[in-house]
């Protein structure tokens, strides 16, 4: 009897200690480590391929686009596949130089990042994220979002390559994935808010949550909403030639 009690106490103690250790590990993780884990759920710096369905409503106008995207860091090649009127159009971003090509015309033309993708989606939203390396994190008091305890970071871009100048980012303490972000201009003005869902799992041997949906709401006109649905995600090492503009014409 005594032995059983002792084993029970030991088990409870062990469980308590392991929970404590887990909690203290999470608490002990640096902001950079937390951001690295959150980045993993939104792509891969080596490369990611995915199909993105963008569904946008802006000023009561609805827009839909399907894109096949191969991305590595901030570089990406996006081929529009649907609707038919845009089928075959291509976007290539290499080191923040962007090229657009229409089928038929063939010649890629350089475009600026002000040329919108669709609705509130930025070009950076169809590529993977690397907030851990591109932003400096300031830790803000924890908050609860939809009942989920979150780390809150104010991220300030430390590289010119970053898509956004400043981001306030909520990362779930339990799942270690980003669940909300607010994007600010250089002058500190909020211009859009995004929420993220992770209903995909990408690694077969060690399943981990992976982004499935991003919802972007315009800060000035909240009725302008853009949904990005990420499908068929595949982590792959993408070769340099994928982003060579010489190959864009026949890709």
């Amino acid at each position: 009897m005594k032995t059983r009690s002792a084993i029970t106490i030991l088990c409870i103690l062990g469980l308590f200690l392991s929970v404590l250790a887990t909690c203290s590990n999470a608490d002990e993780m640096s902001p950079k480590q937390i951001l690295q884990l959150a980045d993993k759920a939104r792509g891969n710096y080596e490369g990611v391929k995915w199909t993105i369905y963008i569904d946008s409503t802006e000023n009561n106008e609805k827009q839909e686009r399907y894109l096949n995207v191969s991305a590595r860091g901030y570089d990406f090649l996006a081929v529009l596949t649907n609707p038919s009127k845009v089928k075959g159009q291509k976007l290539l971003m290499v080191d923040h130089n962007m090229w657009f090509m229409k089928p038929g015309v063939k010649k890629p033309v350089p475009i600026s990042s002000r040329q919108k993708l669709v609705g509130g989606a930025a070009y950076g939203d169809i590529a993977a994220t690397n907030y851990a390396d591109d932003y400096e994190a300031e830790v803000l008091p924890s908050e609860t979002i939809d009942g989920e305890d979150c780390h809150v970071f104010r991220l300030k871009a430390i590289t010119k390559k970053a898509t956004y100048d400043e981001i306030q980012y909520w990362i779930s303490k339990k799942r270690l994935v980003g669940i909300k972000a607010e994007y600010y201009t250089v002058s500190g003005k909020l211009f859009k808010t995004a929420t993220f869902e992770y209903n995909h799992q990408i690694a077969k041997d060690n399943p981990a949550p992976f982004i499935s949906k991003m919802t972007i709401v315009d800060a000035i006109a909240p009725d302008n909403i853009t949904y990005l649905h990420y499908k068929d995600s595949e982590l792959v090492k993408i070769p340099d030639s994928m982003f060579d503009v010489n190959l864009l014409m026949n890709r």
């Binding site: 609707p83 475009i111 070769p239 030639s241 503009v245 014409m249």
Partner: protein, 503 residues
Amino acid sequence: MFMQFPEKLTGKRNSRVKACIVLLETMMVCSILLWMPPFTLGGEADTGEKSTVYDSFDDFRNHFTSYIKWISYDVFLQPSPSTLNPDNKLFNIPGNFLTSEIRADFSLDMDKMFLVFKPRINASWQRWEDGPQADQEETKTDSFVYEWLVRYYVSSDLIASYGRQNLQWGPAYLLSPSNPFIQNNGQSNPKREVPGMDFATLLWVIDPSWSISTIVNTDQGGNKPAFTLDVSNIHFIGKRSFPDKGRSPIGEGDVRNQIIDILGLDTSFEPGYAIKVDFTGFKKYFSVIGSFKEYDRARLGGYGGITISDAMLLYAEASYTLGSEALYPVAIPHFPNQSILMKSKDDSSELLGMTLLGGTYTLENGMTFVLEGIYNSEGYGNEDAERYYRLRKQAADLYDVPYIRDLAKLVLYQAANTRLRLLRRHYLMAQAYRNQIYDTLNLAIRFTYNIDDGSSQLIPIAEYDIGDHIQAFLVGQYNMGPIDSEFRTLFDHSVMIGVQYTF
């Protein structure tokens, strides 16, 4: 003697046999390469998931892409009363040209290989309002392969390819001086396909920033000269002046060939070679292109661009060489007001070429403004231009005179084929465009101004999407200025109205 004008516009050929040959060649090459030991791209090899042999039709379908479009358009043309085309007798430009075409683009990505096959089938009807075929009509059908390509990944970063391609590069909108192979960059009319040429290329992607391409232009493909002249059939005062066809390499030819060469009458294809070095850095890029053609001189070109802000881009393109292959009007000694078009700068060591500077600015709503300026030192100065137009007028006046009609035709042929991309030296181009207005409308308007002769060209382009598959479009071209000026050389105006269905 002169090709039909619509063929010049579209680059279409009666090429059913050629299409079949190309198709067979493509299939043979593919078969051979498919039998070679399979391997995957360096990056993708890590996944170990992809193989060359498809396990199922679904797998094949996932690697196969098709893009099929039916396009029909009617072009209304108003030939210009210029001295280059007296009474439309020389170029025989139809007043109305109706075309219906199926454009199919197929590609198959097989990891180590990438295949492209783009067949075209069309039917056309044309009617002439004036010229030798005034009030006549003609209907014809054609089929040809617009582009085909076999790309082989020797490794993930070393890529060899061969095929017929419309090879384009450079940031400029008006034209791309740095491209020594294809002059038309297709930007003035998005509905008209620029004919491709046959190229063998080897691309080495050194790292994310640098790559080197070697390019060999092996055949003119569909990109035939706009107007050709059979010199062996030219008669001066009743005699055949150039009885044989063909040409010999420079230095080995007889007097006949030397005359043909210096007068720029040869239309035979010259294989071309180029090395292109590309660099891409943070918000900037540049390329340097060294090239030469077998009977031409070496040429150095390049382009580059920088991103000034999220709204503004600046870029430049240039190409320079020593001397020029172009024809210049040379005064004939002791005959005032008489000149002859010839390659007078063939042996010159003067640095000649073209520089284009440009920039774009995009507003918050997506409206983009483009401004480009061109300095073309290879072009005609005022004195050259005066001689050129005088010569053209003299030839036009003699066009109907018996015995010397062929001489007039020869001079006009030379005048139409000066080998200059732009006739004069100073140009400005302004363009504004906005795409996906209300997700249905693309609008563009381009104005090009020849500062030297005061002529200009206005090109409006409108595309309106009716649903997801159908698009109605309009492409206009209005040329303004003196009758004898660059932009009024062939048309006063043309209007293309059409509709396309994308499957």
